[in-house]
């Protein structure tokens, strides 16, 4: 049992009980207890989420909106109340500012297409950063190509922190949007998004924040952050796959054209002309992933039950412990040493390809990710092809970090012969 303190209460963070909530963790891989350190790729699901999805499919399934019958009304009620739940979680002003998508990638693409169609013109500029995931690069490159606009990139220092002075220099009268990652998926850096938004807003430029790696670790208050768009995926916050959220300020979403046409997003369709429905439906064409959305809502409830403060305190301790242990391994180099970061370790063992390290860790029951982690341009900064990435969350343990370190030393020994 691990005790955490916060300013309001002393609560007990029962790691054994928490681990029991996640059925997938209780298994052996190649005869070894699974150590799941690939949480930045996807998080595991608590039983309550799995049970909810099962129950919805078994007992309640019915398509939402415009249903005259009981099941449809019931499902619509659950779906729309989940929208309010997400609104509360993000502290958004209105529930219609919450658009359900298939994931963070879809959310960013929606803004790139929709905002891009309305506001980006030839020679305009969009600012991103050197540490972006491909999901926050390629959609902007595509709109830039279509419109003849340019992509500008905020550089980083070697610790993996954005250079805000350089950012300020990039802003000019042609800048139409800033799209920035909240937490780097490859380095773990937590960016100063509030400051980035403030700088941008001084110049009347809207900001999209890619929150895919932040939502499960950070307190997100979109009004306090004042970002214009916030994107995240359900499966990275202990919810199901195939569901995501796009938060957008009402004034932007109202002005932007829909990016997909179809059922559910219209007010009136004639062959000559179609008028669109109001928010949020204008951006939710087709049958939505209502079961995924409700599952996401249950995941948010689960996290609230544990308490984000407790989670953050525990993950911070894991980060400090892991950093000390890993940096003590001779021949291990950590990438991403920002002052402010989540519990994520990107590293290389000297003279051992990350793929080899990952493969042997797998055989020892330790699941990590190896390669470029969809941030190829970032690795050019460090002049490497990629890394081994161990990303931890609140169901991981100090003992698992010890096992990782022992396994790494064993791999080093195999290669030193």
């Amino acid at each position: 049992m691990y005790e955490t303190k916060n300013t309001n209460k002393i609560s007990v963070f029962d790691i054994t009980k928490i681990r029991n909530d996640f059925p997938v963790l209780n298994q052996k891989i190649y005869g070894k207890p699974l150590i799941y350190f690939d949480n930045a790729a996807t998080t595991q699901k608590p039983r309550v989420v799995i049970d909810t999805i099962n129950k919805l499919h078994s007992e309640c399934n019915s398509s939402v909106h415009r249903g005259i019958h009981y099941l449809s009304e019931q499902m619509t009620e659950m779906y729309e109340s989940t929208r309010k739940k997400v609104q509360n979680y993000l502290n958004a002003q209105h529930s219609h500012e919450i658009i359900f998508t298939s994931g963070a990638t879809a959310s960013i693409n929606a803004v790139a297409y929709s905002f891009g169609e309305a506001y980006i013109k030839e020679n305009d500029e969009i600012i991103i950063s050197e540490m972006e995931h491909h999901s926050n690069i390629v959609p902007w490159q595509m709109i830039c190509k279509r419109k003849g606009a340019k992509l500008r990139v905020i550089p980083i220092n070697d610790k993996g922190e954005l250079l805000l002075d350089e950012y300020k220099k990039l802003i000019n009268s042609r800048t139409k949007l800033v799209a920035i990652v909240h937490v780097s998926n490859s380095l773990g850096t937590i960016n100063l998004v509030k400051e980035i938004v403030a700088i941008s807003h001084e110049n009347n430029i809207p900001v999209l924040v890619d929150g895919a790696q932040a939502i499960q670790h950070e307190n997100i208050d979109v009004q306090d952050m004042d970002c214009d768009f916030y994107a995240f995926s359900g499966h990275k916050i202990y919810g199901p796959t195939g569901i995501g959220v796009l938060y957008g300020k009402e004034r932007w979403l109202n002005k932007m054209p829909p990016y997909q046409g179809g059922g559910d997003m219209i007010e009136r369709v004639k062959f000559e002309h179609t008028t669109y429905d109001d928010l949020p439906f204008k951006f939710e064409a087709g049958t939505p992933n209502y079961i995924g959305a409700i599952g996401l809502g249950v995941a948010l409830d689960y996290l609230r039950g544990i308490g984000l403060d407790n989670i953050q305190n525990y993950e911070k301790k894991l980060l400090n412990y892991g950093t000390t242990k890993l940096t003590a391994i001779k021949g291990l180099k950590l990438y991403g040493t920002a002052e402010n970061k989540i519990c994520l370790f990107s590293f290389l063992l000297e003279n051992i390809h990350p793929y080899d390290t990952g493969m042997f860790l797998d055989k020892m029951g330790i699941a990590v990710r190896t390669g470029h982690h969809c941030t190829q341009p970032l690795w050019e900064h460090y002049k490497i092809e990629g890394s081994v990435r161990a990303s931890l969350v609140f169901y991981n343990t100090f003992a698992e970090i010890d096992s990782l370190c022992e396994a790494l030393k064993k791999i080093q020994k195999m290669y030193s012969k």
């Binding site: 793929y355 055989k363 195999m414």
Partner: protein, 145 residues
């Protein structure tokens, strides 16, 4: 030596290992011992597309036989490459084309090694066979009718 004979030798060698750790140590040794390919062949064009790990491939045709120079930035993959080279390099195009590489299954690579799961190795095997077919076609086209 014939392809089948070399495969049998490899299978016998792997039978002496009790566990995956011993097999891995052997593959690491093979990988380290395999000479790197000439720098002039380490080009973008010679990279095998779609592999998670950079793997360079170059083949030559001499005296009716195909010779392969293959390199990878992963030592463990180089170890597996060393086995493929042992079995297929220096063989006749027709024999390479028709080779049934049963040793891969028999020595347990398929179950235990993610290079195979990642399809990288099958891409490599395909490339080896494709080049053999190209050389074979070339020889047949140049034959007097």
């Amino acid at each position: 030596m014939a392809i089948q004979e070399i495969q049998e030798q490899i299978i016998s060698q792997f039978k002496t290992f009790d566990n995956w750790m011993d097999k891995d140590n052997y593959l690491i040794k093979l990988g380290k011992d395999l000479p790197p390919i000439n720098l002039k062949y380490k080009t973008e064009d010679n990279l095998i597309k779609g592999c998670q790990v950079k793997t360079w491939f170059y083949s030559r045709f001499k005296d009716g036989k195909v010779f392969y120079d293959i390199d990878s930035s992963s030592i463990i993959i180089k170890g597996v490459i060393a086995l493929l080279i042992k079995v297929l390099s220096g063989q006749k195009p027709e024999d390479i084309k028709n080779a049934d590489l049963y040793f891969i299954d028999k020595i347990g690579l398929k179950e235990n090694f993610s290079p195979l799961r990642a399809n990288s190795l099958w891409k490599l095997v395909n490339r080896i066979k494709q080049d053999a077919i190209l050389y074979e076609t070339k020889v047949n086209t140049n034959k007097p009718r």
